[in-house]
């Protein structure tokens, strides 16, 4: 499957995905006929608006004044020095309004929903960051909002559940299957198919049927575009490597995509190894899975020998997903990006390190990127530099951390 090609200069990155949403063998539109009209309407609306100057201006204006962009690129000098390797720069998506990169995409999709005349938005959420971002934009635009969330995730992300309710959203607990993100996605699709006339489905990651992976990527690319400019302003050159965590993979693709053509920049996506890749308790489809079809696209998946989707495990709810965005699958196949994994324990260690050394409490999801970034930086020279995407802040995770340490809050 893996055709590693080191001549990336020949690739025109703008040509991917193709018109039907394919990235190599991955992506596409594997949806039930009952959803096709809604997907066609979405595709048409998106492609007619995406290059419109007025739409872009509206989007950019919201990112600037409502989200607070551009987010800083922060040189973590103390931490870099302590590690003793490459200089680490953190892309501070944790400083966005609502505390994570998710808001970039929900603003884009909600603007699209408004242009399409939809009055109700639905969303699925794992860690709750995408649910909060959706509830936030729904409140601002006066749209009704329903968020589907697995029962297991509701229990481990209680602060975010309450935030969504405060924002006026209805949070529907999902009790089917593994009661996590994948089941929330199933339930949101069922809602969409039943209420297509007035409802817009805001998918939170770069997965789902075409055009979602492309559309969500386009909205998240603001991360990478800013970082591309900021690192050159601050250091006069491009980074040697990029690191981001990958669940569905939206913060990662947002950082990576604007650097794909810079073939000297190495790219690392970090999956959740949970208890370890050699156990069956992890969430690392790119490291350990095979291509298959789930939630509207072909991509690397964690399934059993009969094609049933497996339950995944990660300490981080946002990475606890058996699939991954199809563009990552393709970047893996062609060898442009490297996909690695870190365990729950390694992520927790990085969580504490950043908190104590830099005074920044990172999300558990982002802590996976930090953990690999630490290891990578240690193998590099101090005159080299890497950008780690700090995709979200860790306030939502303090209950989980406290519970792991046996502390009752």
């Amino acid at each position: 499957m893996s055709t590693v090609n080191n001549n990336f200069d020949a690739i025109n990155w703008a040509e991917f995905p193709d018109q039907a949403g394919h990235f190599g063998i991955h992506g596409g539109c594997f949806a039930a006929e009952t959803l096709m009209e809604a997907i066609d309407a979405l595709r048409e609306a998106y492609f007619s608006l995406k290059d419109s100057e007025a739409f872009q201006a509206e989007f950019d204006d919201d990112l600037r004044h409502y989200v607070g962009r551009p987010s800083p690129l922060y040189h973590a000098k103390r931490w870099s020095k302590e590690i003793g390797g490459a200089q680490i720069f953190l892309k501070r998506e944790d400083l966005n309004h609502t505390g994570a990169h998710k808001i970039n995409n929900t603003i884009g999709q909600a603007l699209l929903a408004k242009h399409m005349g939809k009055t109700r938005i639905i969303a699925e959420t794992g860690a709750g960051q995408h649910g909060v971002a959706s509830a936030t934009i729904a409140a601002r635009l006066g749209l009704k909002c329903v968020v589907y969330m697995g029962e297991v995730d509701i229990a481990r992300q209680a602060p975010n559940v309450y935030r969504m309710k405060l924002l006026g959203a209805e949070v529907v607990p999902v009790t089917s299957g593994s009661k996590t993100l994948k089941d929330a996605l199933n339930e949101a699709m069922r809602d969409w198919v039943t209420n297509v006339d007035d409802t817009f489905y805001i998918i939170g990651t770069v997965a789902g049927p075409h055009p979602y992976p492309q559309m969500v990527r386009d909205f998240q690319c603001v991360i990478g575009r800013e970082a591309h400019e900021q690192i050159q302003q601050q250091t006069g050159r491009l980074p040697d490597a990029l690191v981001a965590c990958v669940g569905g993979g939206s913060n990662a693709i947002g950082l990576f995509h604007p650097f794909l053509a810079d073939s000297d920049v190495k790219i690392f996506g970090v999956e959740a190894a949970g208890d370890g890749l050699n156990t069956d308790r992890h969430a690392a489809p790119l490291c350990k899975g095979k291509p298959g079809v789930l939630h509207g696209n072909r991509t690397y998946l964690m399934d059993d020998e009969h094609g049933q989707i497996m339950e995944t495990h990660s300490v981080s709810a946002g990475l606890d997903y058996p699939g991954v965005g199809p563009e990552h699958s393709w970047l893996k196949d062609i060898g442009r990006a490297n996909y690695v994994a870190v365990t729950d324990d390694e992520a927790l260690e990085a969580f504490h390190a950043l908190t104590r050394i830099e005074g920044i409490i990172p999300a558990l999801e982002s802590s996976h990127a930090l953990a690999y970034g630490m290891k990578l930086a240690a193998t590099m020279r101090p005159d080299q530099q890497i950008i780690i995407n700090l995709s979200g802040r860790g306030d939502k995770d303090i209950n989980t951390i406290a519970a792991i340490e046996g502390i009752e809050l």
Partner: protein, 267 residues
């Protein structure tokens, strides 16, 4: 002629409509499925739709979803389903069988391997819910090479251009989803169904079966007047759900529903 085409042709000659019950294979246990299939034929079923359990049935409602969860707890794999069909064929070589499910288990087995095994087992048609015609270019020819019919869904929202695209690939019959929503949803508007079926008929002469929202003998008969086939699923699966531990009661209650539908449809 395929078993499905033959079935619709002989029903047409008798001025009858096909009654097509759906159950998920392996629900409530693996040993009841084949006897239940035989019994459904005795109670008036013309074609059997056998659900292939999948962990993430996102186009199905809660009833079918729970049914698939029970079947998976019983370790019903695609291989298990195929051996059930083979076992059914030992006694019944006539009743067409359609497998209905999702793509990933078929991908994992491999399209060619699946088509070969299904054909040998005695499967007649395959409906893959999450495989629209745009992505079916590789799969359909493989099915056809093994003499299997490719069944596709058509929805109330499917525009003419897509119906034409589906008609090119479809054989056996087309499955018209009578209402917006997931399996087991409410309310069925016969007038709307009938108008859409007319539109489809103007583009293809493939038999049309209607499913989603058929709950009782009256709705089955009403749909039977405008379609060549009536698919009934959630109402039967509900009987299994209510009596998981009582095989006799399941068989009896499903039989009562089907024979009432048969009677009303044949009036």
């Amino acid at each position: 002629m395929s078993r499905l085409a033959g079935c619709f042709q002989s029903l047409k000659a008798k001025n009858k409509t096909a009654l097509i019950p759906y159950i998920a294979a392996g629900d409530p246990n693996r040993s009841l499925t084949v006897p239940l299939m035989h019994d459904m034929v005795e109670q008036g079923a013309d074609i059997i739709e056998l659900g292939v359990p999948f962990s993430d049935p996102s186009a199905d409602g809660p009833t079918i979803q729970l049914s698939m969860e029970r079947a998976l707890e019983n370790k019903t794999s695609l291989n298990t389903v195929l051996s059930m069909v083979a076992s059914f064929r030992e006694k019944d070589q006539q009743t067409p069988i359609v497998l209905m499910g999702y793509l990933n288990p078929l991908e994992r087995m491999g399209y060619s391997q699946f088509a070969k095994k299904a054909s040998i087992a005695g499967v007649d048609g395959v409906l893959t819910v999450d495989l629209p015609p745009e992505e079916a270019g590789e799969f359909c020819p493989i099915l056809k090479a093994e003499g299997l019919d490719a069944i596709f869904l058509v929805a109330p929202t499917t525009i003419a251009e897509r119906i034409a695209k589906i008609a090119v690939l479809a054989s056996g019959f087309m499955y018209y989803v009578s209402l917006k929503g997931v399996t087991g949803s409410n309310t069925l508007n016969i007038k709307e169904v009938s108008a859409k079926l007319e539109q489809i008929r103007s583009m293809t002469d493939i038999p049309l079966a209607v499913g989603f929202g058929i709950k009782d003998a009256a709705s089955a008969a009403a749909v039977g007047k405008v379609a060549e086939g009536v698919v009934v699923g959630s109402v039967l699966v509900k009987k299994i759900e209510e009596n998981t531990a009582d095989a006799e009661k399941i068989t009896h209650e499903i039989g009562v529903v089907l024979s009432a539908m048969r009677k009303e449809m044949d009036k």
